[in-house]
Symmetry: C2
Subunit: 395 residues, 2 copies
């Protein structure tokens, strides 16, 4: 059974992360992605290690399943091929800096003349308009300028980045949503449109609650380590061996906790009666909790607390997640097939459909692996035409 | 001009965060969302402060634009109303723990009998199947168990959570994408389906690069503060007043940096020639860089480095982002109208369309604000019918 986007065609000018993560999501859902790469070199992300038999694990992770065609974007014959491909696809994704597509001759205006139904998605650091539009951006620039870094880390310590590239990936997810919303609208109107998604804007949308708190109080939200601003215990504690996430939501949860851990004495301690008492007396509460939680391993604590209805969980490292039976049953680690290298592991998709499930089966392409197939198949060229283009440096 | 999902109808059983963020995204795009709330109390998120004139800023932020109907889910008359509403909508979103919808009589099987075209989206901590399916989850539980916490924070320090609720919001974004992909597929097949998105699964998909590195090397990725694993300087440094994100990508960027900051002497220092030299000698490199970067304010550094082509940016706090001219021009802070309270600020949407722009204009509803309108408008009841239901405790 094919995925829900079977039959949808995407032309991708994307490189590095935000654009390719967008097209990966569409590809996971069953769309056919034609990724344009520079002859010889390909996407710069192919240079990012670590490598498995010469394949960039960084590139593999977000380009699995996609098809690669090499085209020299400055060559006139290659440009004509792009104009032909544009007529065959539903969606175009690019994440150049604003202005680059126009200089190459592929502006929204030009492309839409050839295919008025195309959904043209531009993903960039700061968007197509606004005073910062032409500034370059990397994940950490977006995380820093959009406020995300300012609320992540420990109080009184230097700010830290979110440990994965939410600067890029946040924008990629909003771009995928916007593309599919435009695809839906096209069914009625018959018209495509231009989508503009910025990494900085996406950080603001993701951190909505910090903004909401600021609008309500005028106080600037600060990093809290792992603590909750209004409740405690609601944080990560060290245990005998690792860490544990421990959450008491209602006051009854705290009373349950005290009974289960054999510390009924705390129930009558005036300093610790309510969430607000415990927060007011946190200087006394924290050392007491740390000492207590260090008396058992994470697994022992979860075995004790979970059956009692206390919400808790481990702080898994990446290897622990990979080997987790739930993760395996959910198919969140899958194997893809690479023609040269064989089976390679990648993360799966969290989008599970009962009737049209996603299938992640193919590895990432080699540079230009599908050039012949695309030019002959989609555009009806002959192998001789393709060879000629290759000799002339167009592909 | 309406948003791209104009005419799409959503029935929402969502509460707290993951479900409401999903329906918020659909609502921002122009869908009509009917949110079912418990009579009198409403969504538990309404209890989360801080409050503005009695309105929860937490609730406002993710429920702007939605319509609220009160229905007592255990009342037989209310159940019949839900069965009627189900026939009128395209999409159902729920984020109860698996099994709850079934016990209430609203399982996918039951709902699809009434509306075979419905797209039924279940967002949960661990998904509908798998050994952890019935465990409860909160944002931080998902961040901890899915590996996100293990790669966020400073090396050698306790793990920290991502400062916004990526556990919930990650799942919400994947759910929105899956719903729209299913909506597209329905245009061809005429059939709906059941979507199952888990918070834990979504963390794995977001942290794909950490998993990719682990698969390539077998080394468990660890938090790096704000540093890049392979390049330096590529991190956040303190300045005279605040912090700065500083990125040198190519070796030429480092040489440019040294010249611009007047430290050509470093160019001939054998310890700092290449990214790998600087990483090997980081114990000497870091104090030198900290001392250097502390000599000017963030604004001065950006004024000097940016024109020279060195990628850099501020670490803005939430107030700085709100007052940023770019953010204002991008309409990432917008005002919504509340009938009682007047204008309230919320974050905007990063999804910008040239032809069918999103409009965020309405505040969050009061509990049951639209009960009469929905029952009379969508279901054709009379105001007397509605009053009778109210007296009988159904709504």
């Amino acid at each position: 059974m094919p995925g829900p986007l079977e039959g949808v065609k995407v032309l991708s000018f994307a490189r590095a992360l935000a654009g390719p993560y967008t097209t990966m999501v569409l590809c996971d859902l069953g769309a056919e992605v034609v990724k344009i790469e520079e002859p010889g070199k390909g996407d710069i992300a192919r240079l990012n290690g670590p490598f498995i038999d010469g394949i960039s694990s960084y590139f593999l992770s977000v380009n699995r399943g996609q098809n690669s065609i090499t085209l020299n974007l400055r060559d006139e014959q290659a440009k004509k091929i792009i104009f032909e491909l544009v007529k065959k696809v539903d969606i175009l994704v690019e994440n150049f800096r604003p202005g680059v597509m126009e200089r190459l001759g592929f502006s929204y205006e030009e492309i839409t003349k050839l295919n008025p139904k195309i959904i043209y998605a531009s993903v960039s650091g700061f968007g197509q308009k606004g005073p910062y539009a032409l500034k370059p951006a990397f994940d950490m620039i977006a995380q820093g300028i959009g406020g995300t870094v300012s609320i992540t880390g420990e109080p009184g310590r230097p700010p830290v980045r979110v440990g994965f590239s939410i600067g890029d990936i946040g924008a990629a997810l909003f771009a995928a949503i916007a593309i599919l919303a435009a695809l839906h609208e096209r069914e009625k109107s018959g018209k495509g449109q231009w989508i503009d998604v910025a990494m900085m804007d996406s950080q603001v949308a993701l951190c909505e609650n910090a903004y909401a708190r600021y609008f309500a109080t005028g106080e600037i939200p600060r990093p809290l380590g792992s603590r909750h601003p209004l409740m405690t215990p609601f944080q990560i504690f060290p245990t005998k061996d690792e860490y544990i996430v421990l959450i008491t939501l209602f006051e009854e949860d705290w009373r349950k906790f005290c009974r289960v851990v054999g510390r009924e004495d705390l129930l009558s301690d005036g300093r610790f009666q309510s969430h607000s008492d415990r927060i007011s007396n946190y200087h006394a509460f924290e050392p007491l909790m740390i000492e207590l939680m260090k008396t058992k391993t994470t697994a022992k604590w979860i075995g004790l607390l979970e059956p009692a209805g206390i919400m808790c969980g481990p702080v898994n490292n990446i290897a622990q997640v990979v080997n987790d039976p739930h993760v395996q049953e959910r198919e969140m680690i899958v194997e893809v097939e690479h023609p040269r290298v064989g089976k390679l592991k990648v993360t799966g998709t969290p989008m599970k459909f009962n009737r049209t499930p996603c299938k992640i089966e193919k590895a990432c392409p080699d540079v230009g692996e599908h050039t012949m197939e695309i030019l002959c198949g989609m555009l009806g060229m002959s192998p001789e035409d393709v060879e000629k283009l290759r000799k002339e440096g167009a592909i």
